[in-house]
């Protein structure tokens, strides 16, 4: 369970969001500039709230009144960025292994094969990110985040930088991912996308939560 109740001032923009989510896929919906990315950056620990709490399951990740701020690398929260952010000096296999190596986990070839099969990236392992298409890059980024064994997966408009054809290519993989059982927070400004994926919606408008509930709130 994810619990968020934070305020953050970013220049002229103020973000004040509070929600609780039990759902497997929480869709964070809003126009660009609504504060979606700032909000998940706070969940990831990349941005510190001015005031408030962020809690995952029973663990307090941020609690400003108690001075608690767990740094990103200790949160075990995976993050798939809109621009993939693969490490350019490593090949695909090393990118996929990166999280496991940093967390000093034992190699898990079965899981590795399962994820690369799930995302159809097995044939890309020896390539460098510079040689991948946009869709391939995004699939590798998904695999990389999954293989770091996160407790929660954040996806920030993972289809945002792709054209329509590519979106259709990735969407089925995201549906498969949802059925993996890792809770996700999925950020999008595309209602159609969220209707296919999300089990719960948090609607954000100019830094405020304006609606909470099932996928019905999108209509």
């Amino acid at each position: 369970m994810l619990r968020v109740d934070v305020t953050k001032q970013l220049g002229e923009f103020s973000l004040e969001a509070s929600f609780e989510s039990q759902g497997r896929v929480t869709g964070l919906f809003g126009a660009s500039g609504a504060g979606k990315t700032s909000l998940i950056n706070m969940i990831a620990g990349l941005l510190r709230p001015d005031r408030g709490i962020i809690a995952l399951d029973d663990e307090m990740l941020d609690d400003t009144s108690a001075g608690v701020h767990v740094p990103p690398h200790r949160r075990r929260i995976g993050y798939v960025f809109q621009d993939a952010r693969l490490l350019p000096h490593l090949d695909v296999r090393q990118n996929l292994d990166y999280g496991r190596r940093m967390n000093r986990l034992a190699a898990d070839p079965a899981q590795f094969t399962r994820i690369t099969d799930l995302l159809d990236i097995g044939h890309l392992l020896d390539r460098r990110p510079g040689k991948l298409s946009g869709g391939e890059r995004q699939r590798v980024a998904l695999g990389r985040a999954l293989l770091s064994k996160p407790r929660l997966l954040l996806l920030d408009e993972p289809l945002g930088s792709l054209d329509e054809g590519r979106k259709e290519e990735i969407l089925p993989y995201l549906v498969r991912l949802r059925d993996e059982g890792i809770p996700m927070v999925y950020v999008s400004h595309d209602a159609a996308e969220l209707r296919q994926l999300a089990t719960q919606i948090v609607m954000l408008k100019r830094g405020r939560v304006t609606a909470l509930g099932g996928v019905k709130v999108l209509t």
Binding site: A44, G45, L46, P71, P72, H73, R75, R76, I77, G78, Y79, F81, D83, R85, L87, P88, H89, D91, Y98, G99, M102, N103, R127, R128, P129, G130, K131, R144, A145, S148
Partner: protein, 231 residues
């Protein structure tokens, strides 16, 4: 005709040793400082920045004299090091290496700092979300991506160190076999009536070393860039 005498060889090998040791010892400090200046905000940062660049703008003889005052036998640091650790810089080749390291430090730090500044911080953030602690992010993302700059800084520092003259001769004098580098050997030779031929040979040798260093740096930089972008 182009017969290099044992005395000349001594100066050449000493120069290489001094410049190589100076560069290798200065590099870790240079990387740490470059990272600090590129990535951290702290009180006194502009003072530290100016201090690093000081040897570039001070007359070398001033730097050499300051080294003598600090690291000489009776200098504050020099006396302590000699009494407690048995390390002596004054009139030793190690002192020449210290002088060269300090004189070349600004040239070493600058390219490293610039290359760290252009490393995409979003990649460092991504590494953090995958579980990499800050030092791991530095070792596995920042440093490898800044490698061309590190190599460029090392070559530039080496080239400066091997040509250093003013601070070295002021600090450790011009003792053949101990502190007489190519530069100070040439300086002595052109003041000797029949030293022209020997000076000429050393000029050729130092030109060859300098050219070699520049070409090596080009080659390293190209290879490193290729490796990073995988093309």
């Amino acid at each position: 005709m182009f017969e290099i005498s044992p005395a000349e060889w001594t100066a050449i090998l000493l120069s290489l040793r001094v410049a190589i040791i100076a560069t290798l010892v200065a590099t870790p400090f240079g990387i740490a400082l470059a990272w600090l200046l590129a990535r951290r905000e702290f009180w006194g940062k502009s003072v530290l920045d100016a201090l690093v660049h000081l040897p570039l703008v001070l007359p070398p003889v001033v730097t050499g004299y300051l080294l003598l005052l600090t690291f000489g036998r009776r200098g504050l640091v020099g006396a302590w090091l000699a009494d407690n650790l048995g390390i002596v810089f004054a009139f030793r080749w190690t002192g020449a290496a210290l002088a060269c390291g300090i004189m070349s430090f600004p040239l070493l730090v600058r390219p490293i700092r610039l290359s760290i500044e252009v490393v995409d911080r979003r990649l460092e953030q991504a590494a953090g979300t995958l579980g990499a602690a800050p030092w791991q992010v530095f070792a596995t993302v920042t440093l490898p991506l800044a490698l061309p700059g590190v190599l460029a800084g090392m070559v530039l520092g080496f080239a400066k160190a091997i040509g250093e003259f003013g601070a070295t001769i002021t600090f450790v004098s011009n003792i053949p076999g101990e502190t007489q580098t190519i530069s100070s050997a040439i300086y002595s030779l052109i003041q000797t009536p029949d030293g022209d031929a020997a000076a000429g040979r050393l000029v050729v040798v130092s030109t060859v070393i300098a050219m070699g260093a520049l070409m090596a740096s080009e080659w390293f930089a190209r290879r490193a860039t290729k490796r990073l972008h995988g093309n």
